[in-house]
Amino acid sequence: MPHDHHDHLSPSGHPYRPDQDGPLTYWQAMEIAIRELMVEKGIVTAAQVREQIDAMDARSPAQGAAFVARFWTDPAFRDLALRDGSNACAEMGFEVGPMRLIALENTSRLHNVVVCTLCSCYPRNLLGLPPDWYKSRAYRSRTVREPRKVLAEFGTILPEGVELRVHDSTADMRYIVVPRRPDGTDGWQPDRLAKLVTRDSMIGVAEALPATEAPA
């Protein structure tokens, strides 16, 4: 599966990278060996591995964006999402995943941001696999100590009067931030609203896109 799309994003929202053509590394050889042994020992089948990867590729921030757009437009869904985020996922037809989901609503007075200082816990069922920076030493170390500076590095400047709340994802919960609905979007349908909801806005390092920047 060689790629040559350096300027494009894959369906999962990550940039493409070269894949199978480079020299075989020790760790790649170990992956192949482990996979074959697991299949031979009857623990998994090759088809299960493929299905798992297909399911992974199907998860992307688009699911989270649909969740947020419905949260903005459907008061009963908003109530459900705040009470029981996992049930709200099920209601959308998304997989619930092994962890419990908590939706964090941003308001004019409160802004939420999510980090995992101990590893890299992330709401994979709604957003797919985490971006590299989320797993970086810099993000994990600094977000709990100087979160306003970290947000500023993403171009997000919070006014003084807005409380910033950092959520360290230390155990069995997973968190999705519901950014504030952009001004000038009254009457927009959920599909159109969802285009304003970026991955970074659901981690909490950015706001949703303004209405004027809606992708075509």
Partner: protein, 89 residues
Amino acid sequence: MADFAPGARVRVKAMMPPGHVRTPGYLRGRVGEVERVLGPFPNPEQLAYRRKGDPLDLYRVRFPLGDLWDRDDADTLEAEIYAHWLEPA
């Protein structure tokens, strides 16, 4: 093991044992308030070593950010802490 209700003031135990735990070092010894009770989850300190995890209550605890870093700061931080890492404050 103490049970805490929302609003209870709790201190994270200050101990720093080796091994797999899910309590971040920067919160140990710090005082916060229980935001909500998340119900029982299996103890990760047993699961990590291939043991069955005993059920433990998990709490979301809210801390003033300024208290964590000894400065004036109106921002806040929340983390999930298992019951056996908390004591009344």
